[in-house]
Amino acid sequence: MSLVLELKNISKSYNGNPVLKGISFALQKGEVRAVIGENGAGKSTLMNIIFGMPVIHQSGGFEGECLIDGHVVNFQKPQHAMAAGLGMVHQEFMLIPGLKVSENIKLNREPLSSKSFNRFLPGKLKVIDNEQIHKDSLKALQKVGMDLDPDQLIKGLSVGHLQFIEIAREVDHQNLKVLVFDEPTAVLTESEASQLLNTIRHLAKDLGIAVLFISHRLDEVKEIADTVTVLRDGELIGNYRCEDLDKKEMARLMVGRAVNIRRDQEQESPNARQNIMTLKNFSVRMPGENLQDIDLEIKQGEILGIGGLAGQGKLGLANGIAGLMPASGNVIFEGQAFSLNDPKQALQNGLGFLSEDRKQTGLLLDESITHNICFTASHVLGRFQNRFGLFDQKQGKEWAQKMIKDFDIRCTGPEQHTRRLSGGNQQKVCLARVITANPKLLFVSEPTRGVDIGAKKIILDFLRSLNQQGVTVVLTSSELSELRVLCDRIAIVASGKISEILLPEDSDERFGLAMAA
């Protein structure tokens, strides 16, 4: 038994907000350990700490100890971690399409020739030994079970190939001890995924490499992992032996969270109401958040929640309907065919959209609060204009002042630029802008992300009261608890499909399984 990597009581906070609290586990040679948890559970922060990413040092380091082969380490740069025998297979491929497979595998680790006059040249001016590159990469490819010509260009290879080349690159490290897989199967086909699992097993069992396997696919975790570490809200829920847990148990541990607030008044069942919008075969092409051929009914007057893990497609829905991402399919809105990919038409028909990307899509950062709040209504509906067709400062300012009061926007006045506002107040400005255009159906995405508690309550309360005034709300959020507090129904999106539509009171287990589907 030899411990390769050991974490002792790792804690980390950003600006006083704890994101990791006392995480410990030990990883042995040849062990495959799955790390599971919802988005924001702290998995990526943990990996950043292990690899010594700059973001950790820039925010004040971390507490606790990280040991490799029994020695305490604190890497200042990811390159140091790599030199010490850690490897990472990224979720997004770190490969250069214009270079050969072999050149990618050996990038910045090229063997140098010391033939003839090369002997006398400084390192960087030595010629690269292409034969050795070819041989090394062939060997690395064989280790991961890939039969591929190393001299081929990356350009044109399938996603599955790229994934294996990434692994081969890490395996090529002479002293690779620990290999981290960050959701490696997310982009693979089923057969590619099973081949990948075989490879991982081979690396661990035959080559003795320890593996950290981060995945949402509980099936795979169950199949491949020896041990499981569950994180939730930055806390260690536990380290388990894989055979001691079944999938349902894992799902429950991942999600488990007391839900105590329910909508107070009893209402007619949403299913009995009319559809305000019906989607059929609806697809959205949004990088990293694709939706494929979904059917969905949005009921008049409800709050519909859209949940799911990051990268599964939940954000695609609102962006597709709002016309910001290319969408296709059949959509009926209030009994009329709804034209897709036409943001203007959508707004004119009474749709509202609060983007998840506040700064990029939601705000004019160098314009006043007044201009921000009035923009949509003035541009789409022609409001706040004087008889010459020019923007009416006075009217706009009055309205902005009312909104500032209603939403309790903390600012120096309606003339202040939105760049200077806090995240919560910026979000309030966005929401004020969206509702100024009087939408009938409002899509709200991640309204409380990066928002302080006070603003969060104001925003959620406002959404509820808006709903009580008859506005249908579709709320997309990564925070399941938020959805369960506010929504009538919650659609869970996984792998670009709606895996299940649940009620807020359904069990944690069902939510967990639906998200991991």
Binding site: M94, I96, L99, E103, L107, N108, E110, K124, L125, V127
Partner: protein, 360 residues
Amino acid sequence: MRLFPKKFSVRDLAVPLLFVLLCLVGVVYSGQPASFLINAIVERLGRNSFLVISLIIPIIAGIGLNFSIVLGAMAAQIALIFTIDWGFSGIGGLGFAFLLSVLPATVFGFLIGKLFNRAKGREMVTGLITGFFSNGIYQLIFLFGAGAVFPILNADSLLPRGVDENGVARFFGLRNTIDLSAVQYALDDLIALPRPQGIVIPYGTFLVIALACLFVWYFRKTKLGQEMKAMGHDQHVAEVAGINVNRNRIVATIISTVMAAWGQIIFLQNIGTINTYNSHEQVGMFAIAALLVSGASVSKASVWNALFGTFLFHTLFITSPLAGNQLFGEAQLGEYFRVFVAYGVIAVALALHAWKGKKN
């Protein structure tokens, strides 16, 4: 060494083909005997190739077309001005100028590299403006500083500037032209070999150009060359792999600037005079246009592009005024035409590059 890229696409070939056609028209309508044309083209190949080759390494490193090689040319002129002023001559003098130019060229290259790192994504426009800006500084130094702030030994090269309060004639600022006859053809004629059909072949210069080609070819195979190639394709991935991208970009800019300085020295030793305030101005534009007519792009170029491009561009350059005169009775027309061609080919290459970059 591979002679040609593996695959030709229509787009790769369209520009050079168009130029071959233009050149043919130019040659046919120039009304000059073949011997005249060949002589002129050979001379210009020797004169210009080195400058064009100096553009290649920043392209490999992903910086794009280095519009600031103008500063390399200035470094060359600074070196030559002092070489001549201190009385050096012949191949020894020229060698001294080569060495001397390395100093300012390295400093300039370093500064430009720093600047490019600050203006990532708009290196080319920054390089262009840097060229203009430095031209002003250069003017300030030589038009007002020479002879006033720092000494110029040879009083004949200074401008007369009236008289001071005591009635003594004042001299400062360099004259518009500086005679380089002390070093003219020192490199071109370094190696005396027979002249076939009376064609003057600058063997010495051709040898140096061959060495430059060899250097670039070798450089691409080194570790540093491979790093630059990787960052040229994808800076982010290269950075993640631990390559020091910013430092390599500075190194690439320095190499390019020093090579440009040497290129300009070669150019001027052939011409035989320095146009103190103008010789460097158009260097960037003509070198870049020459490279691009061969079908090279903002992100891809080889020594073959440089040599072939120089050949095509200067064939057109020589023949277009002649053809303009023959066809329209107006040499001026041909001169305007070749300038238009230079700017046009750069505009098209830049647009295609941005267009392609956007699609990816």
